[in-house]
Symmetry: C2
Subunit: 347 residues, 2 copies
Amino acid sequence: MTTVIAVDAMGGDHGPSVTVPACLDFLDAHPGFELALVGLSEPIGRELARARASGRAGIRVVSATQVVGMDEDVRTAIRTKKDSSMRVAIDLVKDGHAQACVSAGNTGALMGTAKFVLKTLPGIDRPAICAVLPTRTGQVYALDLGANADCTPENLLQFAIMGSTLVKAVEGKERPSVGLLNIGAEDIKGNDVVKKAAELLRASPLNFHGNVEGDDIYRGTTDVVVCDGFVGNVALKTSEGLARMLGDFLKEEYTRSVFTRLAALVSWPVIRAFRRRVDHRRYNGAALLGLRGIVVKSHGSADRLAFTTAIARAASEASHGLLERIGEEVAAMAPLAASPPSAQAAL
Amino acid sequence: MTTVIAVDAMGGDHGPSVTVPACLDFLDAHPGFELALVGLSEPIGRELARARASGRAGIRVVSATQVVGMDEDVRTAIRTKKDSSMRVAIDLVKDGHAQACVSAGNTGALMGTAKFVLKTLPGIDRPAICAVLPTRTGQVYALDLGANADCTPENLLQFAIMGSTLVKAVEGKERPSVGLLNIGAEDIKGNDVVKKAAELLRASPLNFHGNVEGDDIYRGTTDVVVCDGFVGNVALKTSEGLARMLGDFLKEEYTRSVFTRLAALVSWPVIRAFRRRVDHRRYNGAALLGLRGIVVKSHGSADRLAFTTAIARAASEASHGLLERIGEEVAAMAPLAASPPSAQAAL
């Protein structure tokens, strides 16, 4: 059976002008897949025509008459946008017509709609956002990056199970190492939730490395880094801000005078190699883990290359049977990872 | 009266070989101050002799026979190291013989000893670590960066008052803007503590900008960024890790071949200007705010330039009357910033 990826063609800052060319690029590189382009038929058709890809094999247009705005409230999106490109793409996954979906739409609406439509996997209290980041030695999977501001120790263990399974599935690593994000001030090593989560992780069959600190993320100390969504979101956004500032500073210095512009010219291959190495577009596509369906969130500002990466991530997760594997792992660790009844009632 | 800065000459990874030359550099640039170099007389004397500065005006050696190890537990340090260079330097501040102290010793022991010896200021429940970071437009003061893993809304307001007063005092800004670090996922805007803290900040006379996200730190959106110590520590360490990785990658690309080494040579003025601009040594020296004395924590790995910066920061805080000003601001906002009786009992 051909694996079908539903693509929310309207989401993101650019909509079909980026998503449609990205879909075509993806298919060129991965001819075995089928893409369902969901959204307003007219602009999608126009972009396909522009790329001379109307009627191309592997592409199917699924009409949706609404679009979820980038600042739209999740409740409004769920209640009033039942025919949005985002919703229809998720519905395709729910109904088994697609094995995964991708959207560059707003994170809150995407997570909320996905939870509402797909529900969470058995044994998982809350879904988490898991992104891939570059490290000195390769890459690291970090979660949660913003879905859950407050977490219980059991939530963190569930994130660890899901992150570890994701790495196992798509990277083929046998026993991915898991780090628990903590702080290094000698006085107080973390808060109660993190301490309790460390106990759960130590008792689990996961390859738990122990606590890691912020600088371990980019050092590549572990394959997976687990944290609550508040901390993870701050770490991610802070990194984005710092990387952008450093990039801007470098650019400013290289464009300061005729001489520095010459230096930039001579350095071009070096700068290009450097930029390629840390190109965030090559890391685009965060997995919304813990749902009964594969959902990948692309950065809203994704360009063609970045959005292609996100589609490829969804395709990889689907073809590696991620959902089934997470289901098995969670079932195997069920007694450990289950929230106590009181905590479950509070959720 | 001459302002005296007590310098823990033994702290940090390098001890007197770095701290003593840094003290001399500081005095060259700031001849009005007096430094009390605290530690083992022999190595300090040797470093002074090596620099031909034995008996130099403005330098006084205060003997201390013990040294707090970089991994030493705070309790051990307080109980068994009553004559450590760190403790004696803090004692000098307590007894009024110095107006500030600086140490590159371990953060936990320094904060613990300073709290034990100096106590907190009236109206402040917990001291916080406040560091300066570079931004696109200048610099930002961020706190807490690791002293308090869990914070109440009142703690965060107190941090905001202290950070704001610090910027007012040493930067001369009239009404520094204060941002509250939060997350941007549309679904859940932060946790209860942050929401409550935002209310307190809005009701305060501080120039509260509102919530900021991780990327606002380096964007320089506000003069002060307030967060709990867990989040702040992760953001800081993550930044350090990312900056180091990017620096290493750039270096690797520039040293890859004869051609790239040539490009590096041509680019040298650009690279130097860039490095100067983001040189962490120019931002060394975190203020331990909220104590009845000025204490500045230098990075443990600080070199001569970095440690000189930390001394200069302590000197600036002392000569701008930071303590008195924080006292006044806290008193002015006392009803707002006081923890509820129940929370105080729990502290």
